[in-house]
């Protein structure tokens, strides 16, 4: 299962294909890789399709938007081919359509890859792994973890703040200057409380003997095993495989160069 893969290795297995993919400008490569990521996501993890779709769906729209804009504003070097149709002053060529669709598919690939990571990774384990495998200093990792705990309380406080200000009649003010004031009014108490709280947490951590040095024992020993390396090689290897396939079929286009 993907959730048992070492988080640091998983992060690499997501990052490397992501970066490599951003170099391919054809449609075929990202399409096949996207399908592959979907197979991995639903075949080898217990992510529910409904939950996944909830996050993925908005990005579909964003990707469509990307594709549309790129199609209209493609740079001359890519906009070859015959003119398909015209909108107002824009001429849309086959080249432009290809580049647009490719960009959309690439962005969907990034989203699918990120979701594969986010939905199968426990934030605590990720931090512990960064500390144990990537030698990130404990001061940073535990700092991030402590900050992570604040998110729900922050949200809750903002809601109370809104209500309290409504009682005072803040909503009845009009105009841009008042709206700007409004932002400042929320940020002062939120910041003041945030600073106070983080100070308290820091002191509480220190008083439990936290010194921030690297030599500490680990309750959850994060290890890198064979299957982690297999996962990494499969994720990267299959990208090369897909690339090779599209090369054979004559689609491959890296940075505007076809082979």
């Amino acid at each position: 299962m993907i959730s048992s893969i070492n988080p640091s290795i998983k992060a690499f297995a997501i990052l490397v294909p992501g970066i490599l993919l951003s170099l391919t400008f054809d449609m075929f490569t990202p399409l096949i890789y996207l399908l592959f990521v979907l197979v991995v996501t639903f075949g080898f993890s217990d992510v529910s399709f409904k939950r996944w779709m909830k996050i993925f769906a908005p990005f579909l729209l964003v990707a469509l938007g990307f594709a549309w804009m790129t199609m209209l504003y493609t740079s001359d070097s890519f906009s070859g081919g015959r003119v398909l149709f015209e909108i107002w002053m824009f001429e849309v060529t086959t080249g432009a359509v290809m580049v647009g669709i490719s960009l959309a598919l690439r962005s969907l690939c990034f989203v699918a890859l990120s979701l594969l990571f986010v939905l199968t990774t426990d934030s605590t384990k990720f931090m512990l792994s960064l500390m144990q495998q990537c030698k990130l200093p404990p001061k940073i990792t535990y700092g991030v973890l402590a900050g992570y705990r604040f998110l729900p309380t922050f949200q809750n406080e903002l809601q109370i703040l809104r209500q309290a200000h409504r009682i005072r009649g803040v909503g009845r003010e009009r105009g841009i200057r008042d709206k700007l004031n409004q932002f400042r009014r929320y940020s002062v108490p939120l910041l003041a409380n945030g600073i106070r709280k983080s100070e308290r947490v820091a002191i509480a951590m220190e008083s439990k003997g936290f010194k921030g040095d690297v030599n500490r024992t680990h309750y959850h020993k994060m290890t890198v095993r064979k299957k982690d390396w297999i996962f990494l090689s499969v994720m990267i290897g299959s990208l090369f495989l897909v690339g090779f396939l599209s090369y054979c079929l004559g689609y491959l286009n890296i940075f505007g160069k076809t082979f």
């Binding site: 605590t124 005072r168 947490v201 439990k208």
Partner: protein, 533 residues
Amino acid sequence: MNKKQLNQESKPLLHVEHFSFAYESLKNPLLHNLSFTLHENEITLLMGASGSGKSTISLCLNGLYPEAVEGFARGDIYFQGKHIQDFPKGKLNQEIGIVFQDPESQFCMITVEDELAFTLENLNVPASEMAKRISEVLQAVDMESCKKEKIHELSGGQKQKIALAAVLLLEPELLILDEPTANLDPVSSIEFIHLIQQLQKERKMSIFIIEHQADDWLDITNRIIVLGRNGDIIADHHPEIAFTEKRQVLEKEGIFLPKAYDRSLDFDGPSPSPVAKDKVCLSIRDLSFRRKKQPILQGIDLDIHQGEFLAIVGENGAGKSTLLQLIAGLIKKDSGDIDLFGKPISKWKESELRKRLGYVFQNPEHQFITDTVYDELTFGLKLNGFTQSEMDKNANRLMRQFHLENHTFSNPFSLSGGQKRRLSVATMLDETPDILLFDEPTFGQDANTTAELMDMIFDLKTNGTSIVFVTHDMDLVDTYCESVYVLHDGKIAFSGEPRGLWDQDELLEKARLRLPYRIRKHTKAGEYYDLIH
């Protein structure tokens, strides 16, 4: 009362000599020339008004201050005969453990198990031993069932027990408790104090408690140290002596005398003047509210009469604050009726509604929206187009009434805790509202602030404003309220006069309410604990 005698032969554990501490300059120190000794196996209670530097002491004792802040210290502190500066970094923290006041901000991990492991990792305990020690300590604080749970989903009382467990893992010689129950409901805080008592018997630790309300700790305290406003020690005695011989000094300093020693409470409480229950300001019929399909409130009926002092009580999560928000029209009901002066609350114009209904939040800072006290007090008037002279007149009246005359142009955020609280109430009174709602306004406030606030609120009530309180403090309910509504599981489990509530043992236990002191006094000490267990 069953108090342990001061054991004069016990060995000194921690010795403070001529210690001063200041954030800015030692010429005007927060803590001034303190000398005292804590003994082994002794429970010492430190009292002081808010702002007297009580919490600062605890951090000085375990060596985190003055390093962790930009502060200056003079004098010496010895732990087991050794100067605290001679301890290697992190070692002293292990000998002196602290449980802090705020349950929300003393953890850095998500789950209980990981948080406890964090402490063990700091101590470099081998991983193989950790599971065993985590189970042991959870057993000691009676929280075994919560090992895998997420800390932010626990109740306040449970969080404090986990904070205690984490500190116990250090196996400290001295345990410092910095107002550990200030943010807990009364029953949870009694449970916590019992746990401390039991652990002290088993583990023979020294305990240093910092608290502004001594009442519940009295039975287990050997000695009381009182810190004055100027940062010096004004009393250091057995509790019996401190609260009898020194009582005048303590009262002058604004220290909350335990109710057992407070003679002003000896009569059987004032009976609230009955109000003519003929004029209904607000009525609620068959009100229901859901959040995320979860029913929060069901079938609520409630009436607020003119000039009435009404309390809504119940354990955390019973829906008290939600009910208050519904009354104020801040959130929308699912079904039922809320009528203000015979007109559905949803039909009221926002500006009119805010004139009629005031709402004071638990944290006064949330309500501040301007940069000066004067602007706060005139904000509403300005919106409603009052003239400058009218605004001045109103602001001056409120500042006089709430003792804020010397702070006209201070920033609200820079005021003291008590001043902030007073200002937050004053901002609601620029145009006298018909109903004033309060969400636990006395929570975490010290004795003086509470007394002042209640006086002012009572004046308002006498002038015809209806007061609605959400509170955990049954003493307030007993003293001031004409009617009380008990919420349990989202339904009203009791409504009527407070005195009718005090003999409903079963209901009190179910709703986790604690009898007021006046009633408890009549039952034998120890008997009221049965209420909980």
